[in-house]
């Protein structure tokens, strides 16, 4: 069973592995036994799933949600309609075409095995794939190891590698918010020459340069095609663009992880307007632009959007919500059987709530991850139960999520 114990064991031996493989991840040679792409988006801070996907058709919804409730579709401050019972937050409007094209599915009332309410621990657990926080390696890194992938198969769109991609395999990273790339400066040309000759660091520096060059080459073209950045597009939009830039390439990575924080809406959450609405607009625009940006690779792409837990069904004294349990997840892609809201809806009546306050989770988040790893990236059942998600034999895959 691969746990943090193994990670700590591996870090000692990593240097040896590195020496053998001549250094660091090389973006120019991806290796995964599949052409399929996977993008994992982690929303840090506990997204209010009931706001992102309002259950307006639930008879307790309006009373429970009070001033944060959306009206049924058709009026002012109303949710967009998904299926007559569930709606979509109006800021996620850019995703409606994908839903209608059956390439976007929602999984509602989903949670990891975690049942406390600490962001820190919950995120750790979400990323480490076990049933307790305190892990030091991520399930996605473990999966890549099981799949015999090399480091350039995955890229973290961030300054640092998130836990889910940490582990035995060293992966690439790129930050669209990184320092301005002065490719043509005299200084940088000199540094490139210096590093090209360095036995230890040439690989890493070289891949850093290459990532920057791809970024410089790709972004302006995208802007032209999309007619410039849409209003409301922000950090997630930029990160999604960066991910697509890498994953659309035949010779690039196959897996990308994006992260965004700012979902911790304890006060002034708002409905169609406000902090949450702005964040969701950024998310919606970023995801909606993916099919075009991924190009022909979109058919082979699956995107999963998760958060570490949900929020209270009732609003609190500051017109916001507190930490909860069940939330919503999104799964989208060319091969996703979308146009549906999956999961078993527990209801919002007082005695249906978890600990009398939270949306009761009815789907284990690992089901989504397992399904994608198994059906889309071809991980074996055995490795899923042992190395990647220890003690998860009883966690079912979602049989009809992917085509």
């Amino acid at each position: 069973m691969i746990t943090r114990r193994d990670f700590l064991k591996y870090t000692g031996g990593l240097a040896a592995w590195t020496a053998l493989s001549m250094g660091f991840p090389r973006l120019s040679f991806a290796s995964l036994p599949t052409d399929n792409r996977f993008i994992l988006v982690i929303l840090r801070g506990a997204l209010d799933g009931l706001a992102a996907v309002p259950a307006y058709g639930d008879r307790d919804y309006a009373s429970m949600r009070g001033s944060l409730a959306f009206h049924p579709p058709g009026g002012e401050d109303s949710a967009l309609d998904l299926n007559g019972f569930f709606g979509l937050h109006p800021s996620l409007e850019p995703l409606m075409p994908l839903y209608r094209a059956k390439q976007l599915a929602v999984v509602h009332a989903v949670a990891s095995p975690y049942r406390e309410r600490s962001h820190f621990d919950a995120q750790n657990l979400l990323e480490n794939g076990t049933t307790h926080p305190g892990g030091a390696a991520g399930w996605l890194n473990n999966a890549l190891v099981e799949l015999n992938a090399n480091g350039s198969s995955a890229i973290a769109i961030n300054q640092q590698i998130p836990l889910v991609l940490q582990g035995k395999l060293g992966v690439a990273s790129y930050s669209p918010k990184g320092p301005k790339w002065h490719e043509d400066s005299d200084y940088m040309r000199k540094m490139k020459a210096l590093y090209g000759q360095d036995s230890l660091l040439s690989g890493s520096f070289g891949e850093g340069v290459r990532a920057q060059e791809i970024a410089m080459a790709s972004l302006p073209a995208d802007d032209q095609m999309a007619g410039g950045k849409a209003k409301g597009a922000d950090q997630l939009y930029g990160a999604a663009q960066a991910a697509a830039m890498f994953l659309a390439r035949d010779d690039g990575p196959r897996v990308a992880v994006l992260e965004a924080s700012g979902w911790d809406t304890h006060a002034g959450q708002g409905t169609s307007h406000g902090a949450l609405a702005n964040r969701l607009a950024d998310l919606g625009l970023g995801l909606a632009a993916l099919p075009q940006q991924m190009g022909k690779a979109w058919d082979k792409t699956v995107v999963v959007v998760v958060t570490e837990f949900g929020r209270t069904v009732h609003i609190n004294g500051t017109n916001g919500t507190d930490h909860g349990t069940g939330s919503a997840a999104f799964v989208m892609g060319g091969g996703v059987r979308g146009g549906r809201v999956l999961g078993q809806w527990p209801g919002l009546s007082a005695n249906a709530l978890y600990q009398g306050r939270d949306l009761m989770p009815t789907t284990d988040m690992r089901s989504i991850f397992r399904t994608v790893l198994y059906s889309h990236l071809h991980a074996s059942e055995a490795s899923l139960n042992n190395g990647i998600f220890p003690d998860s034999e009883s966690v079912p895959n979602l049989p009809d999520l992917l085509a």
Partner: protein, 453 residues
């Protein structure tokens, strides 16, 4: 050009040489290192900084006030935000003092060891309350024991509110304790697990999940003293939360009552052979190579066991290991923190304004002390500190650092006491071809050689 052994003493064991420091090292680099252990330098700024108990009192008091306030929740949010900012301010004050010392100290080997142990026993400011405690924790629980005994450091760490809060032990309740029976609430295993896995025995230490749970029971009651107590904000042993009864861990019985039970377990963990091996491995990894040589580890391990974890004896052995002095065979890469401090030292920085820029640099490079994602702390191997994005950041940063650190010497002089002994032809030529001294310094700070330790 300095001798290679002076380079190693100053750069690998130290924090990077300052101008003129090489002359002070003289003919015996190893003596220079051990002399620092006998007489470590401290900072005058430390006496002006509040203790963690003071900061904890402030935190508890403010939280109580916020709770009791009749104010609207919006105002409460504001008060909480102000509290967070206060704690962050306290952390920055501590960081400034630490970084100022690192930049100027004449006992850099000692400072590096402080960093090593702080990282080994790490706490993270990513957990809210810890921001107000992390800096004082280093001063109170780590520094006093760096030249003492491992067991004493472990005990100080396990008693410190920063650690008790960070790893949730302050709220851990024994199921059969007075408080536990009343509330039916429970045990938190976080600290117990980390002490065994990360601080002492290590991953292959041979303990079981049962040992972890039992140890967690043993340290129930180890918490933070509330406002109305004598030792407010400090350590308190809360009997009513303590799991009563004798416990067995790793085949040994612990019949002691109260706090003594935990102390006994910690002492045994501190002298366990697996701990000796774990600590020896980490020291060898930090000072010799990412993949530490087995014979070096064995040597350190033996000294640890023979001396009961006497740290100066360990350092004496460490500084005598030949592989540590062979930088061509065993290369280490500077952490982001090392990079910033070594550039500042090489520039002769000794003023507050350089501290400001150093802090900005640490943030830019993702290298702020205690700003870590897990109790495992900052990574110590090249794979994790010299990734693609990080390398670009370092090279970009070097340009600004060459300006902002206002080096007191020309690049060619700095080269002589920094990367001189290991400089490549390519780097030497690049320096010679620089348009001006500023560019030369940038090339120096960004060079592959300057990334090495």
């Amino acid at each position: 050009m300095i001798d290679e052994s002076i380079y190693v003493a100053g750069t690998r064991f130290g924090l990077g040489l300052k101008p003129e420091e090489a002359a002070r090292i003289g003919g015996s680099p190893q003596n220079w290192l051990m002399q620092q252990i006998r007489s470590p330098q401290t900072s005058t700024a430390f006496v002006t900084l509040p203790s963690s108990a003071r900061n904890m009192q402030y935190l508890l008091k403010t939280r109580k006030e916020i709770k009791q306030q009749d104010a609207g929740a919006g105002d409460k949010k504001d008060m909480q935000k102000m509290l967070r900012q206060d704690l962050k301010g306290a952390f920055i004050d501590e960081l400034r003092a630490k970084v100022a010392l690192a930049m100027t100290t004449d006992t850099p080997f000692y400072e590096r060891l402080v960093d090593f142990w702080s990282n080994h026993f790490t706490v993270s400011i990513k957990k809210g309350q810890v921001a107000g405690l992390a800096g004082s924790y280093e001063r109170e629980a780590i520094r006093p024991h760096v030249t003492g005994k491992f067991a004493d450091m472990l005990l100080a760490v396990a008693h410190h509110p920063a650690m008790l809060v960070y790893l949730d032990n302050a709220q851990s309740i024994g199921p059969d304790s007075i408080a536990g029976e009343r509330r039916g609430k429970g045990l938190n295993e976080n600290l117990a697990r980390e002490i065994m896995e990360l601080h002492t025995l290590g991953v292959d230490g041979g303990y079981s999940q049962t040992d972890v749970t039992t140890f967690a029971k043993v340290i129930t009651g180890w918490s933070v003293a509330p406002l109305d107590s004598d030792n407010a904000g400090g350590f308190e042993f809360a009997q009513r939360r303590h799991e009563p009864g004798e416990q067995r861990i790793l085949g040994r019985s612990y019949p002691q009552a109260g706090e003594e039970q935990g102390i006994a377990v910690l002492r045994d963990l501190a002298r366990h052979p697996a701990t000796a091996h774990h600590i020896a491995t980490k020291l060898a990894r930090h000072f010799i190579a990412d993949s530490p040589p087995g014979d070096a580890v064995a040597k350190l391990e033996q000294v640890f066991l023979d001396t009961g974890g006497d740290l100066p004896a360990l350092y004496d052995t460490l500084t005598g290991i030949p592989q540590a002095w062979d930088v061509r065979a065993n290369t280490k890469i500077k952490s982001g923190y090392d990079l910033v401090i070594s550039a500042a030292r090489a520039s002769g920085c000794n003023d507050d304004r350089f501290v400001d820029y150093a802090l900005k640099s640490l943030k830019f490079l993702g290298a702020v002390p205690f700003e870590v994602n897990s109790p495992a702390g900052m990574p110590d191997i090249a794979q994790d500190i010299a990734g693609p994005e990080a390398m670009i950041q370092r090279v970009e940063w070097a340009q600004m650092a060459a300006i902002k650190f206002e080096p007191t010497q020309k690049a060619s002089n700095i080269v002589a006491f920094t990367i001189g002994p290991i400089i490549s032809t390519a780097t030497r030529n690049a320096l010679l071809g620089a348009h001006n001294d500023r560019e030369a310094t940038a090339i120096l700070f960004g060079s592959p050689e300057f990334q090495r330790r």
